[in-house]
């Protein structure tokens, strides 16, 4: 193992911890996002994509923090069960926590694809695809809800409102992030390349 590959052990451990915690507390969407972060980190490590190490660390830390939050302070029992928040409000809390984990993982996916397949993305292609990839990740994440949160579905803790609000907030967050990325990449003439972020020659 080369030195640059060793550096990826830190984000890999963070996302693996998030995955384990997500499985323990049965949080379908974050299990999928944690698995994504782990796979993308492994893809970057395999190609020595050290230029994207910062993004890998940020994405892995974000998914771990969000999973920990939903497992503890923002869980259904902590907020709704204790009476400190209504169910409707809690649905939005969960959706925003998912969205907070989503955006960095989506950005990481571009670095991983670029590093593995030699792709180069500019401001137009990153921002145009960003919200689609983000919405796609939440959609597939909900398939994990189907398998991991059956008890929550049967108990009425997860309802159609949770799914619709989660999808909508995730999509809107990614559209906002797309706009921000477009502005930043265009102003600084940035590209996502196999070497990481670089300025357009």
């Amino acid at each position: 193992m080369e030195n640059t590959q060793r550096l990826f052990l830190a984000p890999a451990c963070l996302s693996a911890a998030s995955l384990a915690m997500g499985l323990w507390c049965r949080e379908g969407v974050l299990v999928f996002l944690s698995a994504d972060a782990l796979v993308f980190t492994a893809m970057l490590a395999a190609k020595n994509g050290a230029g994207a190490l910062g993004c890998a660390v940020a994405a892995s830390a974000a998914v771990l923090a969000c999973t920990a939050l939903l497992a503890t302070a923002a869980s259904y029992d902590s907020l709704v069960g204790s009476g400190s928040m209504g169910r409707e409000s809690w649905i939005y809390v969960v959706a925003f926590v998912h969205a907070a984990a989503l955006a960095p993982v989506v950005l990481l996916s571009f670095f991983a694809v670029s590093s593995t397949f030699g792709s180069v993305f500019n401001c137009v292609t990153v921002s145009g695809l960003f919200w689609l990839v983000g919405t796609g990740m939440v959609s597939v994440g909900n398939v994990f809800v189907y398998f991991l949160q059956r008890a929550d579905l049967e108990a009425g803790i997860v309802t159609n409102s949770n799914i619709d609000v989660g999808l909508m907030v995730g999509m809107l967050a990614c559209i906002a992030a797309s706009a921000a990325i477009y502005a930043i990449f265009r102003r600084r003439r940035l590209l996502i390349s196999p070497e990481g972020l670089r300025v357009k020659p």
Partner: protein, 220 residues
Amino acid sequence: MSTEAERRTAWFLLVMGPAVMGVLFILVSEGSVKGLDSGHPVEYLQSTCIAGAIVLSIIPILRLLDLVSLPPWFTALLYGVVYYYVLSLCQGLYLDIAWWGDVAHSITAAIVASAAFAALCVIQARSPPHVTFGRGGIVAMTFLAGGAFGGVWEILEGYTDTLLGTAYMSYGAWDTLGDLRADLIGLIAATAVAWLVLRKRTPEQVASEMRVGRNAVRRG
């Protein structure tokens, strides 16, 4: 297909697509479709026929305006999936046959992801030289971005019912999650096909069949 033949076909589709939906609309209004007995409200089926007619008009209008030219097999797939959806609904198959909705979602997701794949090939072909996806990148992005459309559809279903105060389109969390699961199966299938296609052809060759833009269509 020559440009003139393409235009004739577009005129034919522009008339026939909405006409078939019009016939279905009349049958629904007369109460002659099985979907009403299965439990679909009449206004829901009528709205679906109108929406189907609008959707089926878009492709020929874009062709007649010289903006988009799609290969015949792809147009046939898009038309097929719209007819499949509307006819199944009018016949009540979504409510009467448990697995029908899942199959419909898988097929639709596969076709929509194929459209995303084609769009990625077009973007690749038209991007400046320093911007590239590569074959693997296109396949990966087909999978990553193609999943969005199932999610957007579920958002539309959920919020349509929320805004209208009805329960026409969504039947609870299990149904929504089942739809997303079926979408994932279609997405995986389409991604596999995209991978197979790009083993034999370049993205530019795929893009050459999807002519987009006034100049490109006229040249073709």
